[in-house]
Each structure stands twice: as structure tokens, then as C-alpha cells.
């Protein structure tokens, strides 16, 4: 048994749980982005960019399913399909619509939500990368190093969009 295999078997449960959790979060993040895209079709840049970068999270889902196999996880490599995701989020969407009257406020709300989700995902990638280093698991580390920067880009995008629209929404409205 190699060192990595030993470590995997010793700490496998905890690491596996972390991978499983991030797999779920990335699925949610992809869903949130697609939902944002669908709900704000009249805000064309939001509509298109959200769809473009949802693809990153969907790819992360595949990568996590792949690397999860090393930890005896059976994760679905296919990102959840859009209709299923949207159904899951309708309720959440309805809550938000209920809270805000103006679509611009709704957009601001959705972006804030997205930002928090991406921040959560980013932290979890951080944890996974640290773990992978400690365990000298090159494969897991490689996945984290390739995926995490894209999560950060999603995060920065949400932040930039909030910055861009908040003055117009809050002051002029």
C-alpha cells in the first residue's frame, strides 16, 4: 500500500465527506447561475455571462465525481439537469420575488445570494486544497488548483456586478 492509499484509508471518511459536500455545492452554484440567467433575461450581460460561467461549476461537478472515486464515493459526474435544478429553486425564487417589488432589487438580491454561495464554495476548495497537500494527494490537489481559480472568478464577477448596479438600484430606483 502506498502512503497516499494509507492516508486515504485513514482519513478517507472526512475527505470523502468534504468532496461530497463540494460536489453538492458546485451543483447548487451551477443551478444558481442558470437560475439567475433565466430570471434576468432582460439584463443581457447577466443572462449571458451567468450561463457561460455556470459551465465552470458543471465541469467542477464532473471533476469532483472523478476524484471522489478514489475515496470510494459514487458521485454523479453529470451536473443536475436544468429542469430539475430549476424546480428545486422555484421556491427560493418565489421567496425572493415576494420580498422585492422591483426587478432591479430582485437582481441585486440574487447577486448577493450568488456571491455568498460562491464564497462558500471557494472556502471549501481552500479546505480541500490544504487537505490534499497534507495528504500529498497530487490528483486531488490538481483538481483543486484548476477549479478553485474559476470559483474565485465567479465570486469576483458577482461582487463586480453588485458594485455596478447597487448605486442605480438604491439611489435612483
Amino acid at each position: 500500500m502506498t502512503v497516499i492509499q494509507t492516508l486515504r484509508s485513514l482519513h478517507g471518511n472526512k475527505v470523502g465527506t468534504a468532496i461530497e459536500e463540494l460536489h453538492r455545492i458546485e451543483n447548487d452554484l451551477a443551478a444558481a447561475l442558470l437560475h439567475l440567467s433565466d430570471r434576468h433575461k432582460a439584463d443581457h450581460e447577466i443572462h449571458h455571462v451567468a450561463r457561460d460561467i455556470a459551465g465552470w461549476s458543471q465541469e467542477h461537478v464532473r471533476r469532483l465525481a472523478e476524484v471522489g472515486a478514489d475515496y470510494d464515493l459514487t458521485l454523479d459526474p453529470e451536473p443536475e439537469d436544468e429542469s430539475k435544478l430549476l424546480a428545486r429553486l422555484t421556491q427560493k425564487g418565489a421567496e425572493l420575488v415576494g420580498r422585492f417589488h422591483e426587478p432591479a432589487l430582485l437582481l441585486l438580491g440574487d447577486l448577493r445570494h450568488l456571491h455568498r454561495m460562491a464564497a462558500g464554495a471557494s472556502l471549501d476548495w481552500e479546505v480541500l486544497a490544504q487537505t490534499a497537500q497534507a495528504m500529498k494527494d497530487r490528483e486531488l490537489l490538481g483538481v483543486a488548483e484548476e477549479c478553485h481559480p474559476q470559483t474565485l472568478r465567479q465570486l469576483r464577477w458577482a461582487n463586480a456586478k453588485v458594485k455596478e448596479i447597487s448605486a442605480q438600484v438604491m439611489v435612483t430606483g
Binding site: E45, I53, N159, A160, K161, E164, Q168, V171, T172
Partner: protein, 820 residues
């Protein structure tokens, strides 16, 4: 002296020259019928306003009227030559339907009024909104055709006086990506290239740039090199068989929406063959490792498949580029108006950084402009950027600007990137922006998705002001129309893409009550009672020259330093290239000499953006990335376009220009020679597609997308299979519909989609999916498309495009002495 019909021969007579030689002088003159030079009372100095090249000319005046034009042989840009639009376009100035009185909407109709009433209405509504809803309810949408002094004044009023972030120019539609690409690679706007690079280059690449039609005189310079000894090799990237492609060594005709893939394949070849100047890259650039990593997955064969271009052609193009000694690249709308615009344009910059081909003769990049004064829109801050390439995200720059303007830094909105035109339209749509002041542009025809645009601009809650010289489609929707003076009727300066500044002087009085844009803007500022922090008027000038002096102070020490230029210095002789200051009293032919850039964190205009999301980099991120003022190599990952072809919409649709018209034809349709050369809209398809569908030359086609329909006659042309081309010049002002289609659409933008590059915010006009069906056969009538240009017919004989007797132009070959 030659007498040439310049409608039939747009580029005129060849004057061949070799590498390193001076381009021979050829002075082109066109006067009203029956007049010769001895009849002219006065020649008044100016430059061209109907394209972006900046060709210097003198305006002929007789009895207080403009009667013709003559190229300025001593000018560095054109060495005396003029293009067809300049030779004939001046006639539009005296068109009988010029606006001569202000108009105001009363009971739903525009009626004539006096200046006081009109300006009080404009200033009154501004003040009301400022009081009720704040500065974010007020926006300005300007042009690439006013003068520098006017843009600077407009930027001052909007940013420094009113305090709105909503300021942009129609440069958003044409050169926003040029600026964005330069900011990504060099952290500042400013063209590394110079037109004189054509005199030295051994390889010239034109990326999505049909220079033969957009900058005819610049193309003439290339044609003269091609006709001389040791001509350069030409690489053309264009889905159409343009005149540029006709003269190319390699022509790549990619499918629309694949430019980044194509560029990455070229870069991959350059890396694989190690055609890289490693010393230059190590000393003067950051980001090489990221590029290597990104290109690891790229393959030329895969790119050939995606772009539908032969792999051998991609390799040959890369070889020419990779082995060139002096490489000049130019980029225009084929890249700028496609999806991933900035990412594609940046890859051209990357080629030059990798090859160390910047800042010396023959080695330059020209991220082209489409309009004559677009460079000034960007420099002076009328495109939303802050004047003189100041960085909105750098507080020290804001403080410095506030000092120049003598106002509190808090007065200058800088909490986020300036609002781009497409977003302004969105804010009008959602009702948060309620006053739009439009100068010299026609969004009701030039913006994408016109049905949406008309619904936005005709809302009751929007107060629309249009300042123009004709009653354009947009003006017909306005609450107040302000009649402006134009080129030849007012004085000011403007700057072309190779940083050459020209003075354009008033030659004749404007018609009726029309006033210079500068005067109108200053009047507006005074009616708003805008003041600085000492209670003095915010706008401290009343003449163009005073405004220019004010601008010079604003540019002191900045990349676009004008402090060494005066009106006096611009009179006579040649235009002058900025930076022009104490260190460079005669201007600067090249910037970025010896790998020095304007990219230091404290000095740069922009920290850059994410190439996919458009999110701006934070100052700290930029400082970490590029602490030592180097060029920035930014890799671009390929993304498929948002709208792709389908069974229902099987064609790629691209829109573009023809040589004989400018924009929405407000001027060029009023010059008979130009209008007759391209009188009506047409659509281009390839011979293969025509045969597959049983169409032939002149058939009337109905072209549709989910946004609308256009009817146009078919020109079977040299465009690649699977792609349709529509010229975008044709709106409705000269049709029964007036401001909209009476029955069937003819404006290309009925069909385009609302989507833009997230980095440059430039709308996408060249990536849409369309369907086409025949509604009537030609009955022997050819499409109304020119035969001299990219719309040249293939496989059929069509009467050639030519002018009448009035199109004859004098071409005077002169000794090259006097031209730089």
C-alpha cells in the same frame, strides 16, 4: 495630372514605393462641376470626418459656400490623397433639409421653436430630475464625430458638474474593443502603431479589417507598397472575399464566432516553433507562463475544424507571422463586433509582445478606430472613461482631476466603471434613467435589436434630447431637437488612430440658426449654473481654442500629453502625433519604445478585467500581477457563441459597411455620387449557398432572426459558405416609414441580438443566426450593391459601378519633398 472617376476606382492611381522609402505624394482634388482651383476664394485647413483615417485636406470656399476639397500633400497621414467619401461627401453640408431651427414636441408633434425655449426645456428637465431623482436619472450618449474640445466640455459637464456616471459614446459600437484590448495588454489606451509602419513592414496582418473599404487611403498606402519592390506579405482574416483578401498571401475565412480559437491556433504554432523573442518577453512582459498553460490544450487541427479553415493555411499564416522581421497588425470590426471581442483582439497584442515587435519602425499594432474622432471620445472622457486616461479606480487620479477642474473629488462619480451605452439603454428601459442627451449619433438605427430600441427611446417617461444636423430617425423620437453645425462650419481638433492630431477650421457659416456643438453645450452648462468649488463657472472657456488650452492642462504628464501642441503649430504643415510635450516637441511616431510601458500601478489607466466575466481586477491584484510596468500577456479561453445556427436559422448573419457610405448615411446619402454607387440595401450569400437554395443574383430575399425581418436583393458574392452579410447603413429617414419600417424592415439591426462582449461592452453584430427565403425573383434586376468592393459579384455579369462626369477627380503626382 490624372483625371479619375473615383467611384469606379476608389483607390486611384498607383504610386509604387519600396521598403523604407517615403510614400510618394499624390494630391487629390475634387471641386463642384465647372470650377477649377483658380475659382476658389479661400482654402481652409481641415481633415476628414467621414471615416477614421484622419486624412488632411483643405476645404475650398467660394462665395461663402463649400465647393470642394483638396488633400494636403505635406501631411504625414495621407500625403495628399483623399478617399471617395471625402471627395464627394462635403456636398451634404449644403443639403436643403439641414436642421436650421430648434424643434420641441408639442401635443405629440415636433414644432419649430427658438433657442431660448428649447434650451430652457432641456436645462429645466435636467434640473427637475436632479432634484427629484438625482444624477443617476441623467445620461449622455455622444459620438465619434464631434471635436476634442466638445467631448472634453461634455465630460466636464456630465462628470464634474452633474455628477452622473452615465456617459458614453457610439464609439461603444465601434472602437470600445480597441480601447479595452489596449488596456488589457498595456494597462492604458494609446496605439502602439503608426501609419508609417506600412512603409517598413515585411508582413502585414489584417484581422477582421476590410481596410480597403473602411480606410481607403491607408489601403492605398499598402497597395503602393504591394506595387513596389520587395512588397510585404498580407495575411487577411475575414469571412468575405474583400479587396484585402484579394491581395493576401494567406486568406483565412473563419466561421463567425471562432476568432479566439483561430488566434490561439496561431499562437500555439508560434510557441511550438519557438518564434518567440524570449529576451524581450523576459524583460518586458508578465503572463507568459499562463499563456503557455492555456495553449497546452489547443491544437491547430481542432481549430481548423471549429473555424472551418484549412489547417495548412493556419500553419502558413503562423509561419509568415513567426518569421517576419517587421510585423504590422491591424484589427477592426470582424474582431470587435464578434463575441469574445476583447479576448480575440488581445491575442493580436500577444503576438507582438511574444515577437518583441513593438515600438520601432514597421513593428506596430493598430487597434483601429471606426470613426474620425473616436480617439478623442476616449481620451477626453466622453465614453465614460476619465479624461486623459485617468484611472477611475485610482483615488489619486480622481484627486488630480478634481484639482484640474477645481471641484471636490467627491463630485466625480468613480464608485464603479462608467455606465456603457447598452446598460444606459437598460436603465432607460427599467425607468431609472429618464433624461438622455444624444449628440451626433443615431441609436434608432445603429443599436442592435431595433424593435427594442424604438420601444426604449419612444417611452413617455424618457426626456430625449437630440443634437444633430439632420432629422435622423432618433431625432424624430425626441422631445427637443437642437440643430448643430458640422465639419467646415465650426473649429476644433481631432485625433486619428495613429495619434495624429489635426485642426479643422471653420470655413463657412452654419445654415440658419444651427450652432456649434461646443456653444450649445456651454449654453447648457450656464443654464444649469454649474460652478466650481470657488463659485466660479465650471466651464471656463467660450471658444474652441480656450477649450483646447484647458484640455492641454488636463493631459499634462499623462500618456496622451498634448501640452506641446497649439492651434498655431497645427496650422499649415502636417498633423502632429501625441505624446507631444517638452521632451517630444515634434510629437512621437512610436510609443512603447525599448519595451517601456505606461502600465505602472500608480500611473496606468486601467487594472484590466477578467476576459470571460468582465469583472475588473482589484488594485491590489494588479499590483501583484504587474508591479514593474511591463506589458501583460493575457490568455483567452475559447467560448462558443451564444447564438448558434439551427435547423430553423441555418445561416450565420454578419453586418458591416460598404466603401461608399458612412454609418446611417445621414451625410453620404446626400452626396449623389456616393448614394448612386450604393443606393439601397442588399444581402450577400456565397455562390454555393445560392445554388443550394436555387437563388440567383437580384432575387428578393426575406432574412429573419427571432428579432425581426429585412428584405433585400441578393448579391451572389465571394463570402464564405453558410454566412449572410447585410450592410448596416440603411435606415428609414428616406422612406415613407420615417423612423421605422413602413412595411418591411431594411435596417440590418432589425435582426441583430442584444448581447455584448463583457470586457469592452461592445455589442455583437457579427454572431447571429438567421434564416433566408426568396420572396420574388430578380426579373433581371441586379442587387444594388457596388461591384468595386467586397460585394463584387461572382459568377454573373452585373453592370460595373461607376460615377458620372461629376465624379471625376484630379490626381496630381508631386515630388515627395515636403511630406514626412
Amino acid at each position: 495630372m490624372a483625371r479619375v472617376d473615383r467611384i469606379a476606382e476608389p483607390w486611384g492611381t498607383r504610386t509604387p514605393y519600396g521598403p523604407g522609402e517615403s510614400w510618394p505624394v499624390r494630391v487629390d482634388t475634387h471641386l463642384a462641376p465647372g470650377l477649377d482651383e483658380s475659382d476658389v476664394d479661400e482654402w481652409v485647413q481641415s481633415a476628414s470626418i467621414l471615416h477614421s483615417n484622419g486624412d488632411a485636406m483643405d476645404i475650398a470656399v467660394k462665395d461663402g459656400r463649400i465647393v470642394g476639397v483638396r488633400g494636403r500633400g505635406e501631411d504625414r497621414v495621407n500625403h495628399g490623397r483623399l478617399g471617395p467619401k471625402d471627395l464627394y461627401g462635403w456636398q451634404a453640408n449644403s443639403s436643403p433639409d439641414r436642421l436650421t431651427k430648434p424643434l420641441i414636441r408639442r401635443d405629440g408633434k415636433l414644432v419649430e421653436t427658438d433657442w431660448d425655449t428649447a434650451m430652457d426645456a432641456v436645462a429645466g428637465r435636467t434640473k427637475e430630475l436632479l432634484a427629484e431623482r438625482g444624477a443617476s436619472a441623467v445620461g449622455f450618449y455622444t459620438s465619434g464625430q464631434l471635436f476634442l474640445e466638445e467631448y472634453y466640455t461634455l465630460g466636464l459637464i456630465a462628470h464634474g458638474g452633474i455628477g452622473t456616471n452615465h456617459v458614453d459614446g457610439n464609439t461603444r459600437l465601434c472602437t470600445a474593443t480597441a480601447a479595452a484590448a489596449l488596456k488589457q495588454s498595456f494597462a492604458s489606451d494609446g496605439q502602439p502603431g503608426s501609419y508609417t509602419d506600412i512603409d517598413h513592414a515585411d508582413v502585414i496582418c489584417l484581422y477582421g479589417h476590410n481596410m480597403a473599404e473602411t480606410q481607403t487611403v491607408l489601403w492605398t498606402r499598402i497597395l503602393d507598397r504591394l506595387a513596389g519592390p520587395n512588397p510585404p506579405a498580407i495575411v487577411a482574416v475575414d469571412p468575405r472575399q474583400t479587396p484585402v483578401a484579394d491581395h493576401s498571401t494567406v486568406h483565412l475565412a473563419p466561421l463567425p464566432g471562432t476568432n479566439v480559437m483561430l488566434m490561439n491556433a496561431l499562437l500555439k504554432e508560434i510557441l511550438d516553433h519557438d518564434w518567440v523573442d524570449h529576451d524581450y518577453v523576459n524583460a518586458h512582459a508578465v503572463g507568459f507562463a499562463e499563456l503557455e498553460k492555456m495553449l497546452a490544450d489547443v491544437s491547430v487541427d481542432r481549430a481548423a475544424e471549429v473555424c472551418d479553415v484549412p489547417a495548412g493555411d493556419l500553419r502558413e499564416a503562423a509561419r509568415l507571422i513567426g518569421t517576419s522581421q517587421r510585423l504590422l497588425s491591424t484589427v477592426l470590426q470582424g474582431f470587435y463586433q464578434s463575441h469574445q471581442a476583447t479576448s480575440a483582439a488581445v491575442q493580436v497584442n500577444n503576438i507582438h509582445i511574444l515577437r518583441g515587435m513593438l515600438g520601432r519602425p514597421g513593428c506596430g499594432v493598430l487597434q483601429m478606430n471606426g470613426q474620425p474622432t473616436a480617439q478623442n471620445t476616449r481620451e477626453a472622457g466622453a465614453d465614460g472613461d476619465l479624461p486623459a486616461f485617468r484611472n477611475w479606480a485610482n483615488d489619486a487620479h480622481i484627486e488630480d482631476l478634481a484639482k484640474v477642474w477645481n471641484i471636490d473629488p467627491m463630485e466625480i462619480p468613480h464608485y464603479t466603471a462608467p455606465t456603457h451605452a447598452m446598460q444606459m439603454m437598460r436603465y432607460i428601459e427599467d425607468g431609472s434613467l429618464r433624461f438622455l442627451y444624444v449628440t451626433a449619433t443615431n441609436p434608432a438605427v445603429s443599436m442592435p435589436e431595433l424593435a427594442r430600441m424604438r420601444s426604449i427611446l419612444s417611452q413617455d417617461r424618457l426626456f430625449l434630447v437630440v443634437q444633430d444636423i439632420f432629422l435622423s430617425e432618433t431625432a424624430q423620437l425626441a422631445n427637443v431637437v437642437l440643430p448643430a453645425a458640422t465639419w467646415g462650419e465650426k473649429t476644433g481638433t481631432f485625433t486619428n488612430v495613429d495619434r495624429t492630431v489635426h485642426l479643422s477650421e471653420k470655413a463657412v457659416d452654419p445654415p440658419g440658426g444651427a450652432r456649434p456643438d461646443l456653444d450649445i453645450l456651454i449654453d447648457y452648462a450656464h443654464r444649469l449654473d454649474l460652478r466650481d468649488k470657488d463659485g466660479q463657472p465650471l466651464v471656463k472657456w467660450s471658444t474652441p481654442e480656450e477649450a483646447f488650452e484647458g484640455w492641454k492642462e488636463c493631459t499634462r504628464g499623462r500618456p496622451c500629453d498634448y501640452t506641446g501642441i497649439t492651434y498655431g503649430k497645427l496650422r499649415g504643415g502636417s498633423g502632429i502625433q501625441w505624446p507631444c510635450n517638452e521632451d517630444n516637441p515634434d510629437g512621437s511616431e512610436h510609443i512603447y519604445v525599448d519595451g517601456t510601458f505606461w502600465s505602472a500601478p500608480d500611473y496606468c489607466e486601467n487594472y484590466g478585467k477578467d476576459m470571460v466575466t468582465g469583472a475588473p481586477l482589484e488594485p491590489t491584484e494588479y499590483r501583484a500581477l504587474n508591479p514593474d510596468a511591463k506589458a501583460i500577456i493575457k490568455a483567452g479561453e475559447y467560448l462558443p457563441p451564444h447564438e448558434t445556427t439551427s435547423e430553423e436559422f441555418p445561416f450565420h448573419l454578419i453586418t458591416g459597411r460598404t466603401l461608399y457610405h458612412f454609418h446611417t448615411r445621414t451625410k453620404t446619402a446626400r452626396a449623389p455620387q456616393l448614394q448612386d454607387a450604393a443606393p439601397e440595401v442588399w444581402v450577400e450569400a456565397s455562390a454555393g449557398d445560392a445554388a443550394r437554395h436555387g437563388w440567383s443574383e437580384g432575387d428578393l430575399l426575406r432574412i429573419t432572426t427571432p428579432r425581426g425581418e429585412v428584405r433585400a436583393r441578393l448579391r451572389v458574392a465571394g463570402i464564405r459558405d453558410g454566412v449572410l452579410f447585410l450592410p448596416f447603413h440603411y435606415g428609414y429617414w428616406d422612406t415613407p416609414g420615417g423612423d421605422e419600417p413602413a412595411e418591411h424592415g431594411r435596417a440590418a439591426n432589425e435582426l441583430t441580438l442584444t448581447d455584448w462582449d463583457p470586457v469592452s461592452k461592445q455589442p455583437i453584430f457579427k454572431t447571429a443566426a438567421a434564416a433566408a427565403t426568396r420572396v420574388a425573383s430578380s426579373q433581371g434586376q441586379a442587387a444594388p450593391a457596388p461591384t468595386t468592393t467586397a460585394s463584387r459579384p461572382v459568377g454573373t455579369s452585373v453592370p460595373p459601378t461607376h460615377g458620372d462626369d461629376t465624379a471625376v477627380t484630379d490626381e496630381n503626382l508631386r515630388d515627395p519633398e515636403g511630406a514626412r
